[in-house]
């Protein structure tokens, strides 16, 4: 339906072939890439390229209509050399995925008959998604700065989305984006008011260096927000455990309950791993948000320190804006030194 531009450029989808349940895709095309906001952050894209490795849709709109259109989805994929396929019953794929969980897959196009067996054996021999190392691919290699305010927030980039940067700018801070494996000394060298550990692809246990840094952040009580992968990293840092979900959460319509005010928010989500709820008991965290459908952990709050983390995407893009206030909660942590209450 909506959000393919945002989803395809979300680094969390690195290494994945994306299939969309909505059958009509590409209707409004793709906007101009070079348009940025006043800080130089791309306005319509979540990173500077398509991150997914392939796209599977039911029906691709060959023409597109929108006032800020620059090209069709097809042209964009072509330009970025990302393969895609249309004319596929994506509902039947979805049903398969919901039974078996995320699977290794392969996209092949051929003029001649395709030998399925050969392809399947090929697929057996490629590295598994869960074994792949993504951080060096998705993280920035050197630090970047947006804005020139006095006070800054450091973003540890484990595959950050531009929307996270935009939201930090929105609450009025300079953004310093640094590589995923930055040490605590590196972080503190910027004298940040707060830290955000970003979303990103894969298993949090593949980011031991970030977990180490996170432990120090907790120890030093630096106001910190973790998002998605960042939340899992903070969880690990605070003594909780993470695991692979049977049914990953992917979509823009995921209801989450804030246990502090009993309000439900519709959130944007994309994660295959989660924080183990049982492990929270012996950790430094309290449960903050739960998923109302399967009761999994969607947010945690540190029992003493200025640290909050959410499993969903408060920055939206794609998805609903209901939880953007999470960034304001971080601001409260930084400004008042006490956990904010909405």
């Amino acid at each position: 339906m909506v959000g393919y531009t945002e989803a395809l450029t979300d680094p969390s989808y690195s290494g994945q072939i994306l299939t969309l349940t909505y059958p009509l895709v590409g209707n409004y095309g793709v906007p101009e890439k070079s348009i940025t906001d006043k800080d130089g952050i791309p306005k319509h894209f979540e990173s500077d390229k398509i991150q997914a490795t392939g796209l599977v849709v039911h029906e691709l709109s060959e023409t597109a209509s929108h006032w800020n259109l620059s090209m069709t989805l097809d042209e964009w994929l072509y330009n970025e050399k990302i393969p895609g396929i249309s004319g596929v019953d994506t509902r039947s794929i979805t049903k398969k995925l919901r039974e078996r969980g995320v699977m290794m897959s392969l996209l092949a196009v051929s003029e001649t008959e395709i030998d399925e067996r050969e392809l399947k054996s090929k697929l057996e021999n490629v590295p598994k998604y869960s074994d792949e190392e993504f951080m060096d691919i998705v993280s920035t290699s050197d630090s970047k700065t947006y804005g020139n305010e006095k006070e800054s927030i450091v973003v540890i980039d484990t595959g950050v989305k531009n929307a996270i940067l935009r939201n930090i700018r929105r609450i009025g801070f300079k953004v310093i984006q640094i590589p995923w494996n930055s040490s605590i000394e590196k972080v503190m060298s910027y004298k940040p008011k707060g830290v955000v550990i970003s979303s990103g692809p894969g298993d949090p246990k593949k980011c031991p260096k970030t977990v180490e840094t996170a432990k120090s952040l907790l120890k030093q009580n630096i106001p910190t927000l973790g998002i998605c992968l960042g939340a899992q990293i903070l969880g690990l840092a605070g003594g909780a455990d993470t695991y692979k979900l049977k049914y990953g959460h992917r979509g823009q319509n995921k209801p989450c309950l804030n246990l502090e005010n009993n309000q439900v928010y519709v959130t944007s989500q994309n994660h295959g791993y989660g924080i183990n709820p049982d492990s929270l008991k012996n950790s430094e965290f309290n449960l903050w948000f739960t998923n109302t459908d399967d009761k999994t952990v969607e947010g945690i709050k540190h029992k003493e320190k200025k640290c909050i983390a959410v499993q969903f995407h408060p920055e939206a893009s794609p998805g609903p804006y209901d939880c953007m206030y999470i960034f304001d909660e971080l601001k409260n942590l930084m400004e008042e030194g006490t956990p904010g209450k909405r």
């Binding site: 909506v2 959000g3 059958p23 319509h44 509902r91 209801p255 439900v264 109302t292 609903p320 209901d322």
Partner: protein, 1018 residues
């Protein structure tokens, strides 16, 4: 349960006797909402301590009062269009000048944009403002800047008392802001807006509903600039609406049910998703299909009605199609409308060509045929951009329509090989369309298709796009997929019930009542697997929890056969879905489908006028003289012999489509042609039209031997008014016992000789003590819910017995006599909305709804019925009488005398006044016709000054065709009165009943009793 007018005084009396704790206002449309606001204003809610559950009156007011709405939106940071509320034309003029023409006029507290319009200049402004001020409950209208070419996007919001809120669904109107959403072709979800716009509007919708304090459901409408992300909130409906029904069916989210729970105090997260049962109701449904809603218009029923689409709603019903491409959903929706079209292209008589100018004009000024003009424009080679500029239809939709147009051409040119055929099916082409293009019939295409293994797949509507396993029985068929969600049944089991399709004039909720009660009856009598096929999102039969499986699908032969191949049922019920399913009876039978109930051959005999008349002759039952149409010469000879007027009627039609009373040779020629066009496969019959006779109906059920008579119903008007437009009364009160015996006798004879096994409706004329049969419908009738409720005997439930091959219980034929309650059914018309339409009734049905009220006497029931249908019953005041023809004048004399006796002031036009004065009934004031504006006092002035409370205007059609010369003036009076909301009585019988009701009300009070439950009869 009460069958009473939804007006404050009646609701108060119920509150007084029932002492309820709470009152819900959000479920009865605008009528209930307005009534609730009035109850609050009158202090009635406070007096009885009745709490309003759901959105508070204050919340309702800030969405309904235009100015308050704008202020509220601005407070919560949601932009609105520039506008100003006014109460006079002078102010309206000033505001329009400021905003610059064109401006749109909106009316506070009305339904369906009633009374509004777009003014391009001061003359139009004058006209619309006058009408709008009259229609407004509070005499207030809004003059607003006009953004017709902006996109029209709607969101359906659910919110609980705790402020949890979600969007059930959003929708996009294809005909942009130009056309009222009720008349728009709508898709869900939106297709042409991007992530940013979607969520910008979504957030605005949630913010606005939170600020207003919605509890339950609301619908928010936005206008979105197609050239930027500028937007404005247009309106909020703080209640269940047509759009919410659509959103419910489009998503599988039961909005009304959840709203009721929320009203009772449940929170959204507490409630469960009723499809998955395991997940919460506090979520946003994910769709993996595209829904297309298409309105059904019935302009052909109204001579003179203006077909232009705009801010006032004119459609009478709608359908919803589900598919996996826009092209598929759109073409399905067109077929569902049952307007004798097989899709967007390749229709019967579809080869009309239009010149470019006419096409361009029609794209700019849209009417109900707009999409066909788009197709014509594309065929003519007009560019997408040009069509967009003219029509404001987003190029994305136009490109998709072009795919359909191109496919027609490809099918014409290429060999019909698998790939092309499959692609055509994916674009929603029916076998009939493909056959028409390739010179084959639909069955040949079906055969070719099946040989090539091309068949639709069944998909579930599960609210979450297959993300979680869902046990849902809510289904549709599509060519956009390769995998069935459900396996076909191998064992023959279950029963399929066909629904009634879109609401339209002549087929409304009565037939949905029939469908639902049949499903329940079958289940109650042991049937384990009942499947429903229907496509009308406004119905209960399309609630997925009514039956065991629901196919939201076309009621076309092709699609029903597709479904039957999957379902493999024991048989199909076609007798409860009105004429829609009845018409499928012979076709299904021909295709080897087992039909449950009356044999299809017997149905055919009843529908075929010629065969039917023969049977009556053999039974020695009288009927008006008739002749099957063979040639114009024969027809003229027959008409001359029996004398004009005669009735021309085709077979297999509902609500008198193309049925015409004909007064002359010229008329005969014209209408015979029309009748042949409407029903080309079936014969046309000409019958003698019997003037001054009473019309009587019987609703019943039979098992072939045993006949159950529901009731004998008498029309209040004399014959000639279509039965759907006539006021009806049970019991009959002008019939002798002998006549009633004859009618009963005929009914039993006919039902048994046709071996009817199921519901039927029989219509009679009574003239000079003689009974004539005029029509037999072997199916559920429009009046069956009325009869069933009054008689406390559910006829459709009984009908499920013979359908399953079980005998009916023995019920005395005169059971109806023992129910000492009067029941009166009053039709509801929509002339106000149909600009230009005349309200004089005839043999073709024009009413769009009905009400029924019960009472201890004729006038007790009638007065409540009239109030329910929107008539005001003035205790004193002024009546205008204008009667055509001396016979009618004689008939009205007693009524005039009575009105005089009751102290009403009588105004009359010259001739009528002269006649009444001659009879010395007292003082009559002469007024002058609209066509003589210089002569005062003039009717127009008095109407506008509200100095006339009701009008008796009986046109002299007895000797003339409608609308020639002098009758135009009467039309003007009726039209003006309709626009100003003044009751007009157009028959002498109605005028008489009306006057007697006024008299009765002077000395009596109406009864207010609850409806009694059905009796258990077996």
């Amino acid at each position: 349960m009460y069958l009473l007018p939804v007006v404050p005084e009646y609701v108060e009396s119920i509150i007084e006797s029932e002492q309820p704790d709470g009152l819900m206002l959000g479920f009865g449309g605008q009528t209930a909402l307005n009534c609730g606001v009035k109850l609050e204003d009158l202090g009635i809610l406070k007096k009885y301590g009745t709490r309003v559950l759901g959105t508070s009156i204050k919340g309702i007011q800030c969405t309904e009062d235009r100015q308050l709405f704008k202020d509220t939106m601005i407070q919560c940071g949601v932009p609105v269009l520039k506008s100003k509320a006014v109460t006079t034309f002078q102010d309206a003029k000033k505001v329009a000048k400021e905003l610059r023409y064109p401006v749109i006029i909106r009316v506070a507290y009305t339904l369906g944009g009633k009374g509004g319009g777009i003014a391009h200049n001061e003359i139009e402004l004058y006209e619309i403002v006058g009408r709008g001020l009259a229609a407004s409950m509070v005499g207030q209208i809004l003059i607003e800047e006009y953004v017709g070419d902006w996109k029209q996007i709607e969101y359906e919001v659910m919110q609980d008392y705790d402020g949890n809120n979600i969007i059930v669904c959003n929708m996009e109107n294809i005909l942009a802001m130009r056309v009222h959403t009720g008349d728009n072709i709508v898709v869900a979800p939106s297709q042409t807006i991007d992530n940013h716009e979607y969520h910008m509007l979504r957030t605005a919708a949630l913010r606005a509903s939170k600020h207003v304090g919605i509890v339950g459901e609301c619908n928010i409408q936005f206008a979105l600039d197609p050239n930027s992300d500028k937007y404005a909130a247009i309106e909020i409906n703080p209640r269940l609406s047509r759009s919410s029904a659509l959103a419910s069916k489009a998503t599988g989210y039961p909005i009304a049910y959840m709203s009721a729970k929320i009203g009772l105090g449940y929170s959204l997260p507490e409630l469960a998703n009723s499809i998955t049962k395991t997940t919460t109701a506090c979520f946003e449904p994910a769709l993996d299909y595209i829904v297309c809603k298409h309105p059904r218009w019935d302009f052909a029923k109204f001579e003179r009605a203006n077909r232009t689409l705009g801010p006032t709603m004119k459609s009478v019903g709608e359908v919803m199609a589900v598919g996996r491409s826009f092209e598929e959903s759109l073409q399905k929706s067109i077929r569902m409308l049952e307007i004798r079209k097989d899709g967007l292209v390749a229709n019967r008589n579809g080869n009309e060509t239009y010149d470019e100018e006419s096409i361009e004009n029609h794209l700019l000024n849209m009417d109900d045929n707009v999409l066909y003009y788009v197709a014509a424009a594309l065929k003519k080679g007009l560019s997408i951009d040009r069509i967009y500029k003219l029509s404001a239809i987003d190029p994305w939709f136009l490109e998709k329509i072009k795919n359909i147009v191109d496919m027609e051409q490809r099918l014409q040119k290429s060999e019909l090989e698998s790939k092309l055929l499959r692609e055509a099916k994916r674009l929603g082409f029916s076998d009939r369309q493909i056959g028409r293009i390739t010179d084959k019939d639909e069955f040949q295409i079906r055969k070719i298709r099946k040989e090539k293994g091309i068949a639709p797949v069944v998909k579930q509507i599960d609210t979450l796009a297959a993300e979680w396993p869902a046990k849902t029985n809510y289904l549709y068929l599509t060519y956009g997929g390769t995998e069935n969600d459900l396996p076909s049944r191998t064992k023959q089991e279950g029963v399929v019930v066909l629904g009634a399709g879109p609401y339209r004039i002549g087929s409304s909720v009565e037939f949905d009542w029939g469908t639902v009660n049949m499903v329940w009856g079958l289940q109650e009598n042991g049937e384990k697997q009942v499947t429903v096929i229907n496509c009308n999102p406004e119905t209960v039969s399309t609630d997925y929890d009514i039956c065991d499986r629901l196919y939201f699908e076309e009621l076309t032969l092709e699609r029903i056969l597709d479904i039957l191949e999957i379902e493999n049922p024991k048989g199909v019920v076609t007798s409860v879905g009105g004429q829609t399913s009845n018409n499928l009876t012979p076709k299904l039978a021909k295709n080897g489908v087992t039909l449950l109930g009356t044999d299809s051959q017997d149905v055919d005999i009843a529908e075929n006028r010629s065969k039917f008349s023969h049977v009556l002759d053999t039974l020695h039952i009288k009927q008006p003289q008739w002749q099957a149409f063979s040639s114009l010469f024969e027809a003229k000879k027959f008409a001359t012999k029996v004398g004009y007027p005669v009735l021309v009627r085709p077979s297999y039609v509902l609500s008198g489509a193309a049925m015409k009373r004909v007064w002359s040779q010229e008329g005969l020629k014209k209408f015979l042609q029309e009748a042949v066009d409407v029903s080309p496969d079936h014969p046309v019959v000409i019958t003698k039209f019997m003037l001054n006779s009473l019309e009587v109906e019987v609703d019943g059920v039979s098992d072939g031997k045993n006949v159950v008579i529901g009731a004998i119903i008498e029309h209040i008007e004399s014959a000639g008014i279509h039965s759907g437009d006539a006021m009806m009364c049970i019991p009959p009160w002008r019939m002798s016992n002998k006549i009633i015996e004859t009618i009963t006798d005929y009914t039993v004879k006919i039902a048994t000789s046709f071996n009817i096994r199921g519901p039927f409706n029989l219509q009679f004329l009574v003239q000079s003590g003689q009974v004539y049969v005029i029509e037999l419908n072997i199916r559920a009738s429009r009046s069956m819910p009325f009869v069933s409720k009054l008689m406390r005997m559910n006829l459709i439930n009984l009908a499920s017995l013979p359908i399953l091959g079980k005998p009916l219980p023995e019920i005395p034929h005169d059971r109806w006599k023992k129910i000492h309650t009067f029941g009166i059914k009053v039709p509801q018309f929509s002339f106000m909305q149909l600009e230009g339409a005349d309200m004089v009734l005839g043999v073709e049905m024009q009413s769009t709804g009905e009400v029924a009220c019960f009472g201890t006497s004729f006038y007790d029931a009638l007065s409540k019925g009239l109030i329910s249908a929107g008539y005001t019953l003035p205790e004193k005041g002024t009546v205008l009488i204008t009667i055509g023809g001396s016979e009618n004048k004689e008939k009205i004399l007693q009524t005039a005398l009575l009105l005089k006796k009751l102290d009403y002031k009588i105004l009359a036009t010259e001739h009528t006044a002269e006649f009444l004065s001659d009879k010395r009934i007292g003082e009559i004031d002469v007024v002058y016709k609209i066509s003589e504006p210089d002569r005062k006092p003039n009717i127009v002035d008095l109407l506008y000054k509200r100095e006339i409370d009701f009008i008796i205007n009986v046109p002299s059609t007895s000797t003339l065709e409608k609308y020639v010369g002098m009758l135009h003036d009467e039309y003007q009076i009726r039209r003006k009165a309709v626009e100003l909301g003044i009751p007009v009585l157009t028959t002498t019988e109605l005028a008489d009943s009306f006057a007697k009701t006024l008299e009765w009300l002077k000395n009596n009070e109406t009864t207010k009793k609850p409806l009694e439950p059905y009796e258990n009869l077996y």
